[in-house]
Symmetry: C2
Subunit: 255 residues, 2 copies
């Protein structure tokens, strides 16, 4: 009945992930090599190899034969968890991204925000309200709350040049995310921001993201229904020699 001891390779992984999570090891920093782990951790090289190899598969580190092992960019982590960075999405389409910061302030968490972020009423949070444009057409209203002590420098950021999600991923790796998508009629303010006609629905994404085991940000993203689609392409891990399917632009098939 006694629990199995935690394997050595897992201890190594935990140790390295911890040093990454707490900021001791930052992206592009060099991680101890297999031989250094052999020395310092008193394991065999194969055990160190397994730990580092699995961390590679999991996206924590990046290895180059002949050079070493390096902490991966947080943003390159699992794409399902990637904070939906609207700026990258737009520039990836070859279009111009711009935005307008409507609010950027410190507030006290109340009601739903406090509940969503697991905070007591009145704890400090930052509130950001941004409208994002694709080629000058409004495409997203980002209404985001950020736990203040997770991002102390938040008010110093210029969110016209770095999106909140890019800023947050630069602080610490994001480890869990919860997402709810729904179709909803916008209120008057959102409709105005998105320049939508009366009666047009919004695609709303509500997303909470965890780091170090606690929720750190809570975002409501409103998109104009007629102009926006949430697309995803999923490939099973370990699939080889798969012909990447050309992403056919699916037209509106509803008759």
């Amino acid at each position: 009945m006694s629990a199995r001891p935690i394997p050595r390779y897992q201890q190594l992984k935990d140790m390295i992930v911890e040093r990454i999570s707490c900021g001791e090891l930052r992206p592009h920093d060099r991680v101890p090599s297999e031989n250094e782990l052999v020395q310092s951790m008193n394991v065999s090289r194969m055990t160190a190899n397994r730990a580092l190899r699995e961390l590679t598969d999991e996206g924590y580190v990046h290895r180059v034969a002949g050079r070493g092992t390096f902490v991966a960019d947080f943003r390159s982590r699992s794409h399902v968890l990637e904070v939906h960075n609207i700026a990258d999405e737009i520039t990836g389409r070859g279009h111009a991204h711009s935005c307008e910061v409507l609010r950027h302030s410190r507030q006290h968490a109340r009601g739903e925000v406090a509940k969503a972020l697991h905070l007591e009423q009145g704890v400090d949070v930052f509130h950001v309200l941004i409208v994002h444009f694709e080629n000058a057409v409004p495409i997203q209203v980002e209404d985001r709350h950020i736990v203040a002590d997770f991002a102390p420098g938040c008010l110093d950021q210029d969110f016209r040049t770095i999106t909140p999600s890019a800023y947050l991923t630069s602080i610490s790796p994001l480890q869990e995310a919860e997402q709810v998508v729904r179709a909803q009629d916008p209120n008057a303010a959102v409709r105005a921001y998105l320049q939508m006609a009366v009666g047009e629905p919004c695609l709303v994404v509500v997303r909470r993201t965890w780091s170090h085991g606690r929720p750190v940000t809570f975002a409501r993203l409103h998109h104009p229904g007629p102009r926006y689609e949430l697309t995803g392409h999923y490939t099973l891990p370990g699939t080889r020699k798969t012909t990447s399917p050309d992403v056919v632009q699916l037209e509106n098939l509803q008759r």
Copy 2:
């Protein structure tokens, strides 16, 4: 400049995945043990171990110390790729699922359907139109086309007792999926099926799924905006000792 040879462990993985994909090894079947692979493939046990261990991580097989290695249920594969099985979702909430099959026929692929499934005009497809109910409330209209020669027994299925997605995953593992989510006003027929008021938007999921490198099914799923949300919870691989966040029921935060 010469390409690195494909490693032995990868060859083992490819061989086993191929035997699973082609149907030679079916879910719950026993996969050769490490020692059997040592004999038949002329590798060391550690190499066989690595192949089977990685297939475990990737969700292809399931291992039990003392018993052996077994092909995993296709449906237990990566949750991002899981065909959105509305019946499981509803029963998972403790509610009753029922459905009404409005159409279940063989057709010739035309226009968008042929294009989406990479078929020539006129090739045989099955067309299924089903309304799904949660506790007698309509919650999804499933409008699905299936490549005929992928699922020859399709017309013999009773989709009141097994959903199309469950049927399809029972045929072959699904390997890739493409999904588009949007908010859209329903047409009159969909609005009637879902018993929606005029002006209420739909959450529409359009999904294509690949198997063996070709698209095999194409589904349009209409959900009533006010009653339905698409939820997802994502955890990074390799995350340990994370307290599973209680999924707070996020209320409608829009004021």
